[in-house]
Point group: C2
Chain length 411, copies 2
């Protein structure tokens, strides 16, 4: 991927050609200052791809997404925060009614609208707020960066800031863009992807190739985030490709495919860092990079195990270089691999300390380590010394505020 040109650009989901977005307050939430409804519209019918939670309990919108994406096409996304529409009475019909309202307001087919919801599980959701809210959002659709920002803001729950990313790249001589918005914060341990993530591109790809690319990138990126080990019921990634960039449709395993996957990975990794760093109560982003693992599966599992350890997360909050907890978390990772040659380094912009060599103590200065760990982005570098595979995972520290936020979420 080193020689693939990927240029960050502004505008999130509105960066690619042919997409507009809006976010409004429609009354699902009681707090009038918090937007709770977003609409994303494509000017043309798009190929679509999706990944969903693997939780056996899943939101009603996911059932409808599967149905509406069965033909591989979609043209709009409608999302609410404040209620997950999961284990709620009449949820599937309600999600379909929301799609119908959106389709009517946009003048598109109902089966081309994809719904998504995030918020409390198990509470009945009412159609009323959507009846005025959807037309209001549609009237405010905006293809400038402001549209993406408004949508990114409306899908937030306990997130402290909206999350967006976009890159520019070239396919077959045509300039293409890929953009995304995301929300995360709690119940983040995706087994698929993070909470809600919506991506757009103006590149042309068939539904099959788009899904292949998404399915390839998700396990390496969003599935490698953990805030609290809880896999949500509503995790959803939706990706729409408008084809308006004018490139020839990307063939699987072509050079263009490699470029597109690189672009998708870059946007995904940026949002992984944002999602993990803004985990509920977090004060620090943790990134664990595992190198020289015997297999990709081991590399992914070890890195995720490390950033998922409550003990390590609490130690990072306390800027305590308790490397034994890193080793412990490596050790309880399932799978057959040797830990004898494991080396661990802790790094931040304040420096790097080498704390463990051959699975045992490596002399370091506690003072130096504390300085490194006081920063707000910490890299945990694990070298297993027994292969060529590598992977990253992203998490955050465990803080008083996580307990506070979740001890009283519903009130």
């Amino acid at each position: 991927m080193e020689n693939i040109q990927l240029t960050p650009v502004e505008g999130g989901i509105c960066a690619p050609q042919g997409f507009s977005a809006a976010g409004v307050h429609c009354g699902i939430r009681h707090n009038h200052s918090k937007p709770d409804l977003a609409v994303i519209k494509a000017d043309v019918r798009c190929t679509g791809a999706a990944c969903y939670t693997t939780n056996k309990v899943y939101g009603a919108p996911i059932t409808v997404d599967r149905e509406h994406l069965a033909d591989g096409y979609a043209q709009a996304i409608v999302v609410n925060s404040g209620n997950a529409n999961t284990c709620a009475p009449n949820g599937i019909q309600l999600a379909k009614d929301v799609c119908a309202l959106t389709a009517q307001a946009l003048g598109v087919a109902e089966a081309d609208v994809l719904p998504a919801s995030t918020g409390v599980i198990g509470q009945a959701m009412s159609i009323e707020p959507f009846e005025a809210g959807v037309p209001d959002a549609v009237s405010k659709l905006d293809s400038s960066p402001a549209g993406s920002l408004a949508a990114a803001t409306a899908i937030m729950t306990t997130d402290t800031h909206p999350k967006q990313a976009a890159v520019e790249f070239t396919l077959g001589g045509k300039v293409c863009r890929l953009g995304a918005i995301a929300k995360g914060s709690g119940m983040i341990h995706p087994n698929m992807a993070t909470m809600l993530l919506f991506m757009t591109t103006d590149a042309a790809l068939s539904h099959e190739v788009l899904q292949k690319a998404l399915s390839e990138v998700v396990p390496a990126t969003f599935n490698q985030i953990s805030v609290d080990g809880d896999t949500s019921t509503n995790d959803t990634v939706l990706l729409l490709a408008s084809g308006l960039a004018g490139n020839a449709s990307v063939a699987a395993d072509s050079e263009d495919y490699t470029v597109f996957v690189a672009a998708l990975t870059k946007v995904a990794e940026q949002l992984c860092r944002e999602l993990a760093g803004d985990g509920e109560g977090a004060t620090k982003l943790l990134e664990c990079t595992v190198t020289h693992a015997p297999t990709l599966e081991v590399a992914r599992a070890v890195s995720k195990s490390v950033i998922h350890s409550s003990l390590l997360k609490a130690a990072m909050f306390g800027a305590d270089a308790n490397w034994g907890r890193v080793l412990c978390a490596i050790g309880y990772t399932p799978g057959d691999f040797s830990i004898d040659r494991t080396a661990v380094r802790l790094r931040s912009k304040a420096g790097e300390v080498f704390v463990c060599e051959n699975a045992a103590y490596h002399p370091y200065s506690e003072e130096e380590a504390a300085k490194v760990l006081k920063e707000d982005e910490i890299d945990i570098l694990v070298d297993l010394g027994c292969g060529d595979a590598e992977a990253k995972a992203w998490g955050c520290d465990l803080t008083y505020d996580y307990v506070k936020i979740n001890g009283d979420y519903r009130t």
Copy 2:
């Protein structure tokens, strides 16, 4: 098990005939008021059984235990707190040296001494404190309940109180006893058993039958505890049987075997509740009982998943009946089972609320639920409605103090 007579008795590991114990401060810890060394002695050579952590990183004492228990016999246990002797230089030789000191002071064979350690990982441990400490502990060996209490106190780390249990039962007309001491608190998510747990019995059982019984009880009890999802490197259960009760050696699959397993289960469950309820920072004990599961594996996995959910643990701290988090944790449990008929009830001594039926909201009073959840022991009752298997798991709430304790454990 209903018609098996099991009578709780005092005295912990000293309740059975032929065992004495002691706990002293020898200087591994800087705090002189905290005992850090325990010795447990049997008057006769015992059959022994053990279970250890499945963590790929494991303490040096576990290597020595495996070697010393290879013949199925042991006569003493020596345990220190304050240093886990794990990933520490020269750890195995040091554990053997501690056994040699203990063997000499007790007049038993070195290969009949089983070592155990708990505390910080990765720090060198010195033999010096043991040189005076072991003879000191041996001089204080006491077969009264005070001896068990002293040993239970010496093995504590962040535990807030010593943990003991003992029961009396009858095998072939002979009165037998089984006793135990345990320590837990943090890094508690045993995949084997809880941290350190030492059990004694005066019943006669061969090494093979004793190990069979222990291996049967551990998955249903200690492996079903979770404080923080971190499987320690030093988890160890050791069980010694002196045979001094005079019963005929228990045959596998006999009636006596059933009685012994019932006794072992009773002591184990009592300590599970104590270990979980005294988890680091805990204010509440959580017990999740899963009934009508399709298989035992699903029952165990679901109950453990529920009490392991950080979100649920934080909700319980806040006395918030957020049953969606229970359902979410059931839903991400691995395995193939249906959740459609799931019912959830929350119970404490203040009452019971029925919060979820057929995987959806069941009307209840939030006021009543808050009253139930303000108690310090909460039962979470999950009925999967699709089989006959059942299991329990034990955990605790997630609190500010967990973060505080682990943000700065080493200082």
